[in-house]
Amino acid sequence: MDFGTIIAGILTLAILSFLYRDNPVYKMAESLLIGVSIGYFLVITWTNTLMDTMFEPLFAKGDLFLLIPLALGLLMFARFHQKTSWLAKIPIGFLIGSGAGVAIPAMLHARTLKQMSATVAPIISEGGLPNVGSIVVIVGVISTLTYFYFSREHKGALGKSARLGTFFLMVFFGTTFGYTVMSRMSTFIGRMEFLLADFLHLY
């Protein structure tokens, strides 16, 4: 068994010890996880971001265009001084402006327009039979949207539609919760597999 597996096994058991109660061994493992994660992130950011895309092209290849993002990046630190803090608004404005410009059309297209067009599917199939799936989708979308329509009191037909919408919402929440439980269980199973197979060699 290699050294890394032994360390990983001990740390896994240390984290699982929290199930009994909070204890110093768990706290040590938790702090170690946070420290290692931040350290790893810093190293990756330094090597893959600052060195690869900024300092090396700027200083080794003389790409002077990179002085602009470098200056914008440095202006972020102006926030730390009261007199110069206004300068930080320049890169923040640039980030918000460019971010919104890039994101809004893409999100509108993928999350709204494409999804809307997918909702409007034929409710009668080619064979002349009703397309149950499409009908359920249309009813679900309309009733759920009416639930979030707050400009009129939910009475009469609007109230009934909104109530139907809550059932669709509950189905969604239930499914999402079920999948999330499954996901967390999978994480535990993954660690159990590591403990039983790699750490203890039981299979």
């Binding site: 990756i44 893409a106 494409k114 499914t175 999948y179 499954m182 269980m185 999978s186 535990f188 597999e193």
Partner: protein, 269 residues
């Protein structure tokens, strides 16, 4: 020593249920869903030698669930002789992705630089996805190992997404959405995903609208995929444990309800 409470017994029960099931390793036939088969068929039907981008868009905490999914997809792609370009949009996924690619490549005798390359992490995922659409070379002048882009034989002739057959996003969060919005939306590149179970309901609408070409979800998806490629990678055994854990939870719910109603009746009496 602290006295064991009800929740401790619940954990012990779950621990034993999962542990015993994994050790016994019964045979469990898992029916393959259409959703998983679509991804399998997508990789299967690509001409051998097609170039795919595998994007490791996850953190370390989801590795137990992500690993079987990634292993199955990578094994299938390497078995079919596809060329793979590995990237990571989250810093934490960088090394994990590299190790998974190297492990599966070695299993099929694939050579680094000729059959697969690992380009590594780039920050600001939206910018990275858009930048690769313009030029992968400019986005990654060097690979993860420090080799120049042009020195890698596999990358000769690959400039941007027009030279790529598709993107496989291995994700535990919303990063696949960005591949859909910017990769597929802007550059019309096919996007498929292997995601954690918690993200399945997030991506289902994208599959339904045809924006996400295929998706494998959670340990169950991994187990199904393992059956399709006839190679176990932790998914099938994990799914066995998952099923027994679900039965255990259902039994606990029933017992909890019986105790609740019995105590209510006792109080009423």
């Amino acid at each position: 020593m602290k006295r064991l409470e009800a929740r401790h017994w619940t954990f012990i029960g779950l621990f034993l249920t999962i542990g015993i099931t994994m050790l016994l390793n019964f045979r469990l036939d898992i029916p393959v869903s259409d959703r998983t088969r679509v991804l399998y068929d997508y990789i299967e039907q690509l001409p051998s030698g097609s170039t795919l981008i595998v994007s490791f868009d996850h953190e370390a905490s989801s590795v137990p669930e992500i690993r079987p999914i990634a292993l199955s997809i990578l094994r299938h792609a390497f078995k079919k002789g596809h060329k793979l370009i590995g990237v990571a949009l989250l810093a934490e996924g960088t090394l994990i992705g590299y190790r998974l690619m190297r492990q599966t490549a070695e299993e099929y005798g694939r050579v680094y630089g000729a059959d697969y390359v690992y380009l590594g992490f780039r920050p600001q995922y939206i910018a990275a996805i858009l930048s690769m659409g313009k030029s992968i070379r400019e986005t990654y002048p060097q690979d993860y190992r420090g080799n120049d882009y042009d020195s890698l034989p596999m990358l000769r002739g690959i400039e941007n997404y027009s030279d790529i057959a598709g993107v496989l996003s291995i994700a535990d969060g919303s990063l696949t959405t960005h591949w859909i919005e910017y990769g597929r939306g802007r550059f019309d590149i096919p996007v498929a995903a292997g995601v954690t179970a918690a993200m399945v309901t997030t991506y289902d609408p994208y599959v339904a609208s045809g924006q996400l070409d295929a998706m494998v979800g959670g340990l169950r998806g991994a187990a199904e995929y393992e059956q399709l490629i006839a190679r176990e990678g932790g998914g099938i055994r994990g799914m066995l444990a998952q099923s027994s854990a679900h039965v255990y939870v259902v039994v606990l719910i029933i017992i909890g309800n019986i105790i609740h109603f019995a105590s209510r009746r006792r109080r009423a009496a």
